[in-house]
């Protein structure tokens, strides 16, 4: 057990990122003693290797996991793009709305025209049926004048 603890400390010391300058001589001395101990005891050498491998595996596992996440995100994005239903639905809806709007406008205008033509025909028929009735005409004037937003009339000339 003690040996293992020693090994852990050793690995930590070896993997320390910045070896302090003052310890440089100590470190090389430690390394020498360590090498000697490893040569002397194969079990000790093996335990060091195991710990080092464990640490390495842990680091690489984390990296793999990170990469996997990225790949999954990428794939999801691609899938979203490939099966982009939102925009297709949007486009079709836009088309239908435009078409329906035009149809409704067309239909309403047509209805208005049909009614107006019937009204005009009736008025004209009435007026021509009684030749001596221009006096009757002014009575109709106001309502007819109101319902006549005629864009067809010319301007101010």
């Amino acid at each position: 057990m003690k040996r293992h603890l020693f090994a852990l400390g050793l690995v930590a010391a070896l993997s320390a990122p910045i070896p302090v300058a003052a310890d440089a001589g100590d470190a090389s001395a430690l390394r020498e003693t360590c090498t000697k101990a490893m040569n002397a005891d194969p079990g000790f050498a093996k335990s060091i290797v195991i710990v080092a491998e464990k640490n390495y595996r842990k680091a690489s596992y984390e990296q793999i996991e990170r990469e996997n996440k990225e790949i999954v995100a990428n794939e999801q994005q691609q899938e979203r793009f490939a099966k982009n239903e939102r925009h297709v639905i949007l486009a079709y809806a836009a088309m239908w709305v435009l078409a329906a709007g035009f149809l409704i406008m067309l239909w309403r205008r047509q209805q208005g025209l049909v009614a107006e033509i019937a009204q005009l025909h009736r008025d004209l028929a009435e007026a021509t049926a009684e030749p001596a009735a221009p006096a009757k005409a002014p009575a109709k004037k106001p309502e007819k004048g109101e319902t006549k937003p005629d864009p067809a009339t010319k301007g101010d000339d």
Partner: protein, 225 residues
């Protein structure tokens, strides 16, 4: 007298009326100058940006000021119903049309005479130093005046002509303005991009030609009293 001579007479008449009051000339030039100043305010004072934006500003100023001039020039004919008198004169309609378009071209060019130096002064852009710009402006003015005259004359009897003139004119004239802007931008490139410049000037020429032909053909059937 040939058609050209008659057209020159009509143009001379228009320009003489204009020179007596100088109403269109002054208002158009002032409006163009105002647009140049507004543009100079609107865009940040950045030498690189100014260089990129100046061609667009110039042609927008010409388009807007030109529209104002067109509206006023044809209003003048409407006020005393002189358009009818002009059409009743024993000259072909073609001459009337060409004369009016020529007079309008002169007016538009005079606006650009104000706008070009002003813009190059305010934005510190070397517009004046390039003679080909005059050619581009001339072609642009011709295209604008030809198309504008056809539609202004046809709109004479229409109530909402002031609103409808730009509505009709701008979609048709966008290619012209884009070509003008591109030609001007080619001039301002360092070094001057001559290939691009002459391509766009050629484009303007062909555009003018096509529009002139259609206008001449259509004017007669569109403007009937």
């Amino acid at each position: 007298m040939t058609v050209i001579g008659q057209a020159l007479r009509v143009a001379g008449k228009d320009l003489r009326i204009e020179l007596r009051s100088r109403e269109i000339l002054y208002t158009m030039a002032f409006f163009g100058a105002l647009l140049a100043v507004v543009d100079a305010f609107v865009f940040p004072a950045n030498a690189k940006l100014a260089r990129a934006a100046a061609p667009g500003m110039l042609w927008v100023a010409i388009a807007f000021a030109g529209t104002i001039g067109l509206g006023r020039a044809f209003d003048r004919e409407r006020e005393n119903d002189t358009m009818r008198a002009l059409l009743l004169t024993p000259v072909p309609r073609l001459a009337v049309f060409l004369g009016k378009a020529a007079a309008m071209t002169v007016l538009v060019l005079s606006v650009s005479l104000v706008c070009v130096p002003l813009l190059s002064l305010l934005l510190d852009v070397p517009l004046v130093e390039h003679p080909p710009l005059a050619l581009a402006l001339l072609l642009g003015a011709i295209g604008f005046s030809v198309t504008g005259s056809v539609f202004s004359a046809a709109l004479l009897k229409v109530r909402s002509r002031d609103v409808l003139l730009p509505v009709i004119l701008y979609p048709l004239l966008i290619p012209l303005f884009v070509a003008g802007t591109s030609a001007t931008a080619a001039l301002l490139e360092i070094p001057r991009n001559d290939d691009k410049l002459w391509y766009w000037i050629g484009f303007l020429g062909i555009y003018d030609l096509a529009f002139l032909v259609v206008s001449v053909w259509i004017f007669e059937s569109m403007v009937i009293e």
